[in-house]
């Protein structure tokens, strides 16, 4: 099967509020796929659904042929051992050192001797350029560095599927470039599949093989980055060109300004 992850007919709602509806997505093996859209479009929800942290109301998610079933805890945990997730703020364990954070998944899921674990952890930290920060605490490193440590932790077990939740948010341009390169290089080196949730157009386009654009829980556009840049779809254009107003409105929907100021009748009469 050429797709590692397949999403079919996915429906998800928080109580009464629908977030995602009738979603169809494919994530081919070995590729970096970006899922983009404005805030609140449901991108992060997709990651959580794939990881089994949320349960969909309808539809299915298949990873390497296995359906993600949140009620089957054992099966879910087996699937998760082949995934690595980078959370938006790193989500490092603050009571452990950088070294212990990266070693955590290795120690939990294998019986390897400490000497071997030490070598593995240092290699992972080397890949993200933080080998010499191994014995610092998470509170002693900058935000960008913490993000890289979290990345090292996410790839500690050489996962088949790596998911990134807003990896570029809040980073300086240098860190952004570094992170983008890491994502691409690690993906190719490990032969994994990466799903990148972001709203940073430039960095994402520079490393992604395929892009999905989401708005209000539906896919409004999909294609390669070049296709997206050339697209005439108004939503894609607004997003790619960072326009203030377009299909995604600037103003929160509600009353007009004239009505709020109490002169709505007069304005309508004058028009």
């Amino acid at each position: 099967m050429s797709n590692l992850v397949e999403i079919r007919n996915l429906k998800f709602a928080y109580g009464e509020r629908p977030i995602l509806s009738d979603l169809q997505m494919d994530f081919p093996r070995g590729k970096v796929v970006a899922v983009m859209g404005g805030s609140g479009s449901g991108k992060t929800t997709i990651l959580r659904l794939i990881g089994g942290l949320l349960t969909a109301q309808a539809g299915s998610i298949t990873i390497d042929g296995t359906v993600v079933d949140t009620h089957d805890t054992d099966g879910l945990y087996k699937l998760r051992r082949r995934m690595g997730v980078l959370f938006q703020n790193g989500a490092l364990f603050t009571d452990l050192s950088v070294f212990d954070n990266v070693a955590f998944p290795i120690r939990e899921h294998s019986d390897l001797p400490e000497s071997l674990i030490r070598d593995m952890v240092l290699m992972k930290l080397q890949a993200v350029g933080l080998r010499n920060a191994a014995y610092l605490k998470p509170t002693e490193v900058s935000g960008g560095m913490a993000r890289r440590v979290a990345l090292a932790r996410a790839i500690a077990l050489d996962p088949q599927l790596i998911m990134y939740d807003e990896p570029f948010a809040g980073l300086d341009p240098i860190s952004m470039g570094v992170t983008a390169n890491l994502i691409r290089n690690l993906n190719d080196a490990l032969g994994s599949t990466s799903i990148l949730v972001s709203h940073d157009v430039d960095e994402s386009f520079s490393i992604a093989d395929y892009v999905y654009f989401l708005s209000s829980g539906k896919i409004v556009a999909q294609g390669t980055p070049d296709e997206m840049r050339a697209s005439t779809d108004p939503y894609v254009k607004q997003f790619v060109n960072a326009e203030a107003d377009g299909p995604v409105p600037f103003h929160y929907p509600g009353k007009s300004l004239a009505d709020d100021l109490g002169i709505g009748e007069k304005v309508r009469a004058a028009l």
Binding site: L53, N89, F93, T94
Partner: protein
């Protein structure tokens, strides 16, 4: 009026749902605890944070409660010419009631709130979700060790409270006021039964340990991941745990000392 009844019904349903959810989580945590036996260090580390760090407040409180018991007990017994029974009064008050209950209340305030805040902040910082995504069950790895550490620490702390309190009562009663030392200890030894008083007190503190620790952990786990959410959760821990301890104390006393 209808609205009031409606909202009362709603609150009741929410309360029952919470209770059911908490019970299910408790049972799941108990089931997962067997896996902890292979990693006892997780529990012992937590005993250090929960128990050792509570030692000072418990011991000092016990001392002062003992002092007060000695003082007040003497004044009251003196009216009936029974000041020789001071030792008995101090020891029974402590081992049966004050030891377990006051320790539990102090524990809820000191260790309970820190547990709630810790778990709440771990949840807010997505550490628990990250652990889940690494196929490690946070209920087993984070919650259960803290639970068992609390259950183990509580009776130890209660025993220390009672023992220090007896010594405090001795210092005030015998050394400062002048009650006869021999009568103090012998009346105590004659009246305090190891099984009925000391052991029952220990049993009470174990039950309180179960209740207070789990309430603290549950409130942290269910807290909203915001500063107000964590603050509200710590308040709820203290209030709910304290009321539960007092309620359970009544029940247990009725059961045990009949």
């Amino acid at each position: 009026m209808i609205n009031a009844i409606g909202s009362l019904g709603y609150s009741l349903r929410m309360w029952l749902t919470n209770l059911g959810y908490a019970t299910r989580m408790f049972v799941r945590m108990l089931g997962l605890s067997f896996g902890l036996l292979r990693r006892p260090r997780l529990i012992t580390d937590q005993i250090h944070f929960i128990g050792n760090y509570s030692l000072v407040i418990i011991a000092v409180s016990g001392l002062f409660v003992g002092f007060v018991l000695g003082l007040q007990g003497y004044y009251t017994l003196n009216k009936y010419g029974s000041e020789q029974a001071l030792g008995l009064l101090v020891a029974l008050s402590l081992t049966r009631e004050l030891g377990p209950v006051v320790t539990a209340l102090l524990f809820a305030g000191r260790a309970g709130t820190s547990l709630t805040a810790e778990i709440g902040l771990m949840k807010a910082g997505e550490q628990l979700a990250a652990m889940e995504m690494m196929a490690v069950n946070p209920l087993q790895r984070v919650i259960a060790p803290r639970f068992w550490a609390g259950v183990i620490s509580m009776p130890i702390l209660a025993a220390i409270f009672s023992a220090v309190g007896v010594v405090g009562g001795y210092i005030v009663g015998v050394r400062m006021i002048g009650v006869d030392e021999g009568a103090f200890w012998s009346q105590m030894q004659g009246g305090v039964d190891v099984v009925k008083d000391v052991m029952n007190g220990v049993l009470k503190s174990v039950v309180f340990g179960f209740a207070v620790t789990f309430i603290a952990l549950f409130q942290g786990y269910e807290s909203q991941p915001t500063p107000e959410g964590v603050s509200r959760a710590t308040t709820r821990t203290v209030v709910i745990a304290s009321l539960t301890v007092l309620g359970l104390d009544f029940l247990l006393t009725a059961l045990m000392f009949n």
